[in-house]
Amino acid sequence: MADSPVVTVHDRPNSYIGRSVPRPNVQRLLHGRGTFTDDIKLPRMVHAAYLRSPFAHADIKSINADAAKAAPGVAGVFTGKEIAELCEPYVGVLTHLEGMRSPPQYPMAIDRARWQGEPVVAVVAETRAQAEDAVELVEVDWAELPAACDMSAALDADAPVIHEEYGNNLCWERIVDEGDVDAAFDQAAVVVEDEFTFGRHTGVTLEPRSIISSWDPSEEQLTVYMSTQGPHMLQAIFAKHFGLEEHRVRVICKDVGGAFGIKVHTYGDEIATAALTMLLKRPVKFIPDRMESFTADIHARHHTIKARMAVAGDGKILAIDFDDLTGIGPYSMYPRSSGIEINQVLNLTGGPYTIENYRARGRVVFQNKPLMCQYRAVGHPIATAMQEALVDHAAQALGMDVVEIRARNLIPDDAYPTKSVTGMLFDKLSHHAAKDKLLGMVDYAGLRADQETARESGIYRGIGFACMIEVTSPSPMFYGVGGAPISAQDGVTLRLDAKGNLIVASGVTEQGQGAEAVLSQVAATAVGVTPDKIKIITGDTEITPYGGGTWASRGTGIAGEAAAQAGHALRDQILEVAGIMLQSEPRKLDIRDNAVVDTDTGNERISLAEVGRVVYYRADTLPKDYQSELIATRHHVPKKFPFAFTNGIHCSHVEVDVDTGMVKLLNYWVVEDCGTVINPLLVEEQVRGGVIQGIGGALYEECLYSDEGQLLNGNLADYLVPMAAEMPDIEVGHVTSPNSDSELGAKGAGEGGTGGAPAAILNAVNDALLPLGARLTVNPMTPERVLRALGKTE
């Protein structure tokens, strides 16, 4: 086929690229016929419940499980020590985060519990209710220890040391120092300084983490049904830590009820659930309840930052200097580590702007709270909010408009490829075009005028902007290079069946973001079939090509490209055999709407169903020296750039009630550039959902702890999440700078909304309060904190 014309997916007739095609797999979800992990029942299945540590830090002196073992329906009670006998411990460090340390971790606490919520005893019974009843019968003799809960105090000389062998609670420290920061601050016309606090919050996926493990000792086969983002990663982890070959572990992921980074880690209760099926030789289901999820899921985002920015009289940013501290719980999470979040903050801050001088210190500390790790938009909300709040602060100090100061500093659109002061490589971004597009959507002058008028009647409205960059579609430089079993490549297999339908299998997973729709659109376009002819298979390590799964907004950029390449290969195969059947040169044929046609006339020559029929049932009619193939697999991994950066700009319009401290969200606009848009509907809904999740962190969500490390609001009534009544409508616009590392040109779009919203809201609130002299540098901006900033409460 060397002489066939090169046809990219963009030139194909009847292209589905760029069309708002509804998701093919949504029907079952709309009819209550989805299959979430908790919907599955296996023969002889039993249910696990975990006794969890009630203390942040305590020694386990003894465990008496006699009564629990005798309770109705109980099939077994196991301690951390018994589970550990089956399972190799794991260590959550990445070797490229130099100097990071974290001790071996076991699925359940053995002699000492190090956070409130750590699993301590597993109880398995006929029903979940029986298992929970029996948990209450387990007696643990605890000796409470002094705890290091407050992350800022965790490095104090008198703080309790969580891992004695380390001498202190420091997990990792990184320092970046580029250019001449001190000289830049000396030359500055203005220097602005702020201290930021970002609250610890969590993911609250509506479907909790869910797992059913099933061990067949006759074949030494472990099958795990799991609500997860990374089936192959989990396969590798289960295999490694239970001493099995990978092909003896099958991970099946059916429908996933939201994930956002919560379901891509190694949780002790899940590893223990796999151990339980090996001990009992029966399938074991474990579904945490909501209260458990609050202390057993990863938490995210808690940072305190001292930051300053040096700015010249013309508004040019001369330097940024900051010191960031984050507390990650008693261990670094395995296998992604809990260092990536702060690493992102150090890498990304200031990223949209031309900045030459940059100094940052990041410290990651151990503390007696739940583990903290990567959650949607990892590090971005922190980096963006800090950077954008400093930019607004500088504009204020200079008496300059907040849009103008950004325009003067954003990297010019014709400067690419280029790199940031921290060494981030940018292929092609579009900050100015995005800003201009946004200003075409927002009546900025009108909003300013309205702001003036409203103030006269004591109504305080604010406008906040946020420019940002987003890491998507990472290469192996993200995790693989650090030694983690996390694949940066992904594969797609396309197979034409005997009726001319296309079966597509991929290693990425669907969790509602629309991965299956995107794969279907790309495959349909590349091969030349209609989407109704396509069946997508994801979420099964036994039948999908090896891949990393769904995280860091990689599905479209990576698996999408693999689908395009597999589509080209399958199309070539089809045209080759069709050429033989039709006695025509393959290059004069094309595939359109499920049929092989003459390229020039578009006239149908033979349907794909007929091609399939002949190939599979009547190969005797094909030449004896010819063997047809109707299946192709292609993989893709980013090669030119470590990350496919995207950019975006947000604008938030709010009204702050200065008597109650309530923030009302009036309007919200976003322009994003995620390269080639495969499905505008899905991209826009990713942006909207992402913004709302970011608003959660900005205004409502925080895991509140007592000094002793007790979670005070671990339920959905007390932990506030964004609900429909308070949320604004969001207008979304696009600019397109294709990814030059792939034919498709797509980048990711899953996290920018969450990464930018806290910054835009923070700036909008501060803009509203400006005439009152109040300034907030904390998330979430609860009414109480707003009133405190206004001096209206203690």
């Binding site: 509804p22 709309l30 009843d133 009820g257 909501r290 959902g689 992402g690 949320m727």
Partner: protein, 164 residues
């Protein structure tokens, strides 16, 4: 030892999605567990088990309730409708179609409860505006969509019903 384990099962008889069913269950079993575990109607979901998220919303004797806050025994003699029955009846086919077109379901975990809640509003007041729609669904948590698409889909359905 919690008392409930020793309490004998109670027979619950109800009409679920038009079918008469009878099961002997523990008195403490809530309605959504009854539907999911006993009847294997897994379309109703469990998101919090404490009455906040709305994922377990079902219709009992014509009114929506939280399946995690009602005991199965309280549904004895009642007419219960779940998302499975509501779908098969065709009552919300237009709403489901608009959810699909507007991408108002992402992961779909909140969706059955959301549809149940929206169906009630559409039956009472198909002309409801965006603010009313937002208020009406404000007891249903959705982590994925940001709600706008859901509001759009409900609004569109109401408009079309009004025109008919």
């Amino acid at each position: 030892m919690p008392d409930s384990i020793d309490i004998p099962p109670v027979v619950v008889t109800a009409t679920v999605n038009g079918e008469r069913v009878s099961r002997a269950v523990e008195p403490r079993m809530n309605l959504v567990d009854f539907l999911r575990e006993e009847l294997e109607l897994t379309g109703s979901h469990i998101g919090c088990e404490h009455g906040v998220c709305g994922a377990c919303t079902v219709r009992v004797d014509g009114t929506i309730v939280r399946g995690c806050l009602m005991l199965a025994v309280q549904a004895d003699g009642a007419q219960v409708l779940t998302i499975e029955g509501l779908s098969e009846s065709g009552e919300i086919a237009d709403l489901q179609e608009n959810f699909k077109t507007r991408n108002a379901a992402q992961c779909g975990f909140c969706t059955p409860g959301m549809l149940m809640t929206a169906a009630e509003l559409l039956a009472e007041n198909p002309g409801a505006g965006r603010t009313e729609i937002r208020e009406h669904i404000s007891g249903n948590f959705c982590r994925c969509t940001g709600y706008q698409a859901i509001v759009d889909a409900i609004e569109e359905t109401g408009k079309n019903r009004g025109e008919k």
